[in-house]
């Protein structure tokens, strides 16, 4: 992230660096129950959300603290929804409802990814029982902020175009032909990659994936990141997708392609679907080596 452009307008009492104490507990303590996180009576449990807000794409961000009541089973999306019923800041002042994206609430649509206590992840599956009593929410980094926790992830989808992540059908009609057979073993390996929900968490965590301003300055030439690369791995394996394998490999051998990966392994650590992104990148390394030789010898 670039520097925090916050004006700290409202009531954040401590700086970001020093507020971790309350929020960071050991995993064991979190799972042991509510004892360490519940300061109020058990049946009127509340948490403090420290939200990095931003009114428009071009204005500065600022921090705001709110207290939200918590029900059993709540997650970050559900408490943000609760907050809309009565949007007041911690000091009792009424504030604008927080803008954020969500849809499925079961971690399959990818809409609600954000930074939660500094980690990029879908907010719907971030259960409050696993978090502290002070939770820091920030928009997903690397993508332009639309408002508050809502970001524009258009780049994700542009990259799928850049790597030609599709099978070239003659047309969408039924031509009465089936695709060739696929072994169960191959299916099991491919299916891992087709579970990508395009949340962008891997890109937020990747040290090589550039900020949107950097990417905008060099359109089509900055690092694709693991999300699009994994789809190349998937489509190159499909019996029909294979026909355009060379095109896809050449796309990821160009500037901003595979070799920009710094092997930090952050992507696999944060992927909510446990997609083996670095395995895909490794396989693509071998494929591009072969492709480079083919290109060299005109095979």
């Amino acid at each position: 992230m670039t520097g925090i452009a916050g004006t700290d307008q409202l009531d954040i009492e401590r700086s970001l660096d020093s507020d971790g104490g309350g929020a960071r507990e050991t995993d064991a303590a979190k799972r042991a129950g509510t004892g360490t996180q519940c300061t109020d009576a058990a049946n009127s449990h509340t948490v403090e959300l420290r939200i990095r807000r931003q009114d428009t794409p071009s204005t500065a961000s600022y921090w705001q603290s709110v207290l939200v009541p918590v029900r059993p089973g709540d997650n970050v999306v559900s408490v943000l929804r609760t907050l809309r019923l009565n949007p007041v800041a911690r000091d009792g002042r009424r504030v604008d409802p927080v803008a954020f994206e969500h849809n499925c609430m079961e971690e399959v649509c990818g809409a609600c990814a954000m930074l939660i206590d500094g980690a990029p992840r879908p907010a719907c599956s971030a259960l409050l029982a696993e978090l502290g009593n002070v939770i820091r929410l920030e928009p997903l980094p690397k993508f332009p902020v639309v408002r508050d926790l809502m970001v524009d992830r258009a780049r994700l989808f542009e990259h799928l175009k850049r790597v030609r992540a599709w099978v070239r059908l003659d047309g969408p009609w039924d031509n009465h032909e089936r695709a060739p057979r696929i072994a169960q073993r191959q299916w099991a390996a491919d299916y891992l990659y087709s579970r990508c929900i395009n949340c962008g968490a891997c890109l937020a965590a990747c040290p090589q994936f550039p900020e949107s301003a950097t990417a905008a300055a060099r359109p089509g030439r900055t690092f694709l990141g693991p999300q699009a690369l994994a789809q190349v791995r998937l489509l190159n394996a499909h019996p029909l997708g294979r026909y355009d394998k060379a095109d896809r490999l050449q796309a990821i051998m160009a500037a901003g392609g595979l070799t920009d990966c710094g092997n930090a392994q952050n992507c696999v650590r944060v992927c909510p679907k446990q997609i083996p992104l670095t395995t895909a990148i490794g396989e693509l390394g071998r494929q591009t080596t072969v492709q480079a030789l083919k290109d060299l010898f005109g095979a």
């Binding site: 089973g73 997650n75 849809n103 971690e107 639309v146 599709w166 969408p172 169960q184 087709s194």
Partner: protein, 628 residues
């Protein structure tokens, strides 16, 4: 290429298939979506998609698929579209397979198929337990290719607000709002396809549906004159997780793959479920429906669970919950076939369904009803005439509807895994119909005067202005909560006329309250409260259509259950027995009165309900539903 312009509203399976079909023929499609495409509710479909491939040695047939679908829907669906749907299913699967969809495989590398409810043959193709997401990947990639070729232009984060009609009442475009800048703008087109999905949010939070499945777009075109059919038929999925924020779906595939539903015989039994011996468990579905057991259709299963918990007081611990048990199955098998739902359950309930049975209860899931759409009967095949411009046309010329927002294929109850099929197939058929419609058009929308476009923009801006400057007191999110509670308690699994009368009165009151909204923010940028306030107003109007339609139908059919008018099956299962004969006579008489499509038309003082005949030209409705 003629290069006409078409607007598709909605980027789920139906909308993407329509886009693909239309843009694939060289026309330009403007695709409107409330959010980035790939975040639509279609990705939440889990268990699979039905198509007769007969690869499991069970002598499955298209004729059987047609019969199961019609009977599962209590004979209420028009039959030619159902016939064509089932006949077209294998072609839809073949196309998906060519797109690269990761369907699960048999050891021979062919498409695997599994069992689903209301069916005796393995007919459901699947991709693990994330089939909807996988199918979406396939069509999304194809649409992206057309986008790269310049044939598709996506309008992401735009909300459909209304249609623009010319002097003859023909739809000539739409007005939509940019959800970031709040700019309201008219778009011209030679045809409009609505593929805006379901309306489970009318029952929030007791619903499996995504938060954007509000039905607001369908409500808006209904208020502009489109007819809405069979609104009273709304499916409650029997196996949803318990949850205060959302009741997450646990796929019917769990039962199809061998999952068993049970409760302790003693509701006060506090033992861990795994410690309760078999003899002390009540497998009530297997007990009541030995022929189909746990894979009875959804309406039957939901009512059975309802009865066990609410009427017999036999829910676990006396509560609204029963066990859905997978613990007796092979762990590796369940992990491969149902991994996606296991993961959802583990994450949100905190226990492992392989170790401890899941706890579930019915929740609002799928609208069988929707925008009324036409079809052209083909006398040569008995199905629908391919490429007819009448197919999937709404009652407003130039406006088409497909996917869950139409009412086309499922009658009074949808069979599991028929929705991914109908969403995809109807998108394809609606797309083909639009192509014919375009070929028959004499003039495009370009030459039309600006007047109707400007007028609709002004009307919509006035609504926004009223909300932003209004001095009401109602929080729109609280109104939504009130709506969900009202619909869940009064227009739910079990209905009665006194409750429906109260629901109708309460909805009218809720609509009055919704005229006095306080947005609590005046931001002119990405004001989500404004968008939600508008949705809530339109959801309440749609709820009135559902309640009025439910009030008007005095019978039990599929998901619409009014015990007062129930015709209980005779205890004998022998069709030749006198009591069965008697039952048949009453069943026939009831069909003569009620086997009709409910059609609602917008009227200033509420929905006007009429009935129209069902096309029964394929199979005479001579089999009462008996899954015992």
């Amino acid at each position: 290429m003629s290069g006409r312009r078409v607007i598709v509203v909605g980027g789920g399976l139906g909308g993407l298939w329509a886009t693909l079909t239309i843009a694939g023929s060289g026309h330009r499609v403007q695709l409107f979506s409330l959010f980035e495409v790939m975040r639509s509710h279609s990705v939440c479909a889990q268990g699979g998609i039905n198509a007769v491939l007969d690869g499991k040695g069970q002598h499955d047939s298209v004729a059987q698929h047609i019969l199961d679908t019609l009977k599962g829907g209590s004979w209420l669906a028009n039959q030619p579209p159902v016939k064509s749907l089932c006949e077209g299913a294998p072609g839809v699967i073949r196309t998906f397979e060519r797109m690269g969809v990761t369907f699960s495989r048999t050891p021979e590398g062919l498409l695997d198929q599994r069992l689903f409810g209301g069916v005796k043959n393995k007919r459901t193709c699947f991709a693990g337990a994330s089939t909807g997401q996988q199918l979406m990947h396939g069509v999304d990639q194809q649409v992206r290719r057309l986008e790269a070729e310049g044939l598709v232009q996506k309008h992401v984060w735009w909300e459909f607000l209304g249609l623009v009609k010319d002097q003859e009442g023909v739809c000539r475009g739409i007005v939509a709002m940019d959800l970031r800048s709040l700019q309201v703008q008219a778009f011209r087109a030679e045809a409009v396809v609505l593929a805006t999905g379901g309306l489970g949010q009318l029952y929030a939070p007791q619903t499996t549906c995504s938060t954007n499945s509000t039905g607001a777009a369908a409500s808006r075109v209904y208020q502009q004159g489109a007819h809405f059919a069979n609104a009273e038929f709304f499916q409650f999925h029997p196996t949803a997780m318990l949850g205060e924020d959302k009741t997450r779906l646990m796929s019917e595939a769990a039962r199809g793959e061998g999952g068993r539903v049970w409760v302790p015989k003693d509701p006060a039994d506090r033992r861990e479920p795994n410690r309760i011996p078999d003899a002390e468990r009540w497998y009530f579905l297997e007990d009541w429906y030995p022929a189909y057991g746990n894979t009875v259709p959804r309406d039957i299963a939901s009512r059975a669970i309802w009865r066990v918990c609410r009427e017999l007081g036999q829910g676990i611990g006396g509560d609204d919950r029963v066990y859905l048990d997978l613990t007796h199955l092979d762990r590796a098998f369940v992990e491969t076939r149902l991994g996606a739902i296991l993961s959802i359950y583990r994450k949100f309930a905190g226990t492992d369904p392989l170790e401890r049975p899941m706890e579930i209860f019915p929740a609002a899931h799928y609208a069988m009803g929707g925008l009324w759409v036409d079809f052209e009967h083909d006398p040569d095949t008995g199905g629908v005439k391919p490429g007819s411009p009448r197919n999937h046309a709404t009652s407003i010329p130039g406006l088409y509807a497909c996917g869950e927002c139409d009412y086309g294929y499922h009658g009074a109850n949808r069979l599991g895994a028929n929705s991914l099929l109908s969403a995809s197939y109807s998108g394809r058929v609606a797309g083909e119909a639009v192509l014919s419609h375009l070929a028959g058009l004499e003039r495009g929308a370009d030459g039309l005067p600006a007047t109707p476009f400007d007028a609709e923009v002004a009307r919509q801006q006035a609504i926004n202005h009223g909300l932003i400057t209004g001095r009401g007191r109602e929080n729109p999110f609280r109104l939504h909560e009130a709506l969900g509670a009202l619909m869940t308690s009064r227009v739910g699994v079990v209905r009665d006329n006194a409750s429906l009368d109260r629901a109708i009165a309460d909805l009218a009151e809720l609509e009055r309250r919704a005229a006095h909204i306080d947005l609590a923010e005046a931001s002119p940028w990405a004001n989500q409260t404004l968008a939600h306030a508008r949705q809530v107003q339109d959801m309440i109007r749609l709820a009135r259509v559902m309640a009025a339609s439910a009030r008007a139908r005095d019978e039990c059919r599929g998901a619409h259950y009014k015990p007062e008018f129930d015709l209980p099956l005779p205890s004998s299962k022998d069709p030749a027995s006198p009591e069965w004969q008697q039952y048949r006579a009453r069943w026939d008489a009831n069909n003569a009165r009620w086997l009709k499509t409910t059609v609602a038309e917008h009227n200033l003082d509420g929905p006007q309900i009429e009935f129209e005949p069902v096309d029964l030209s394929v199979l005479a409705p001579d089999q009462p539903r008996d899954y015992r």
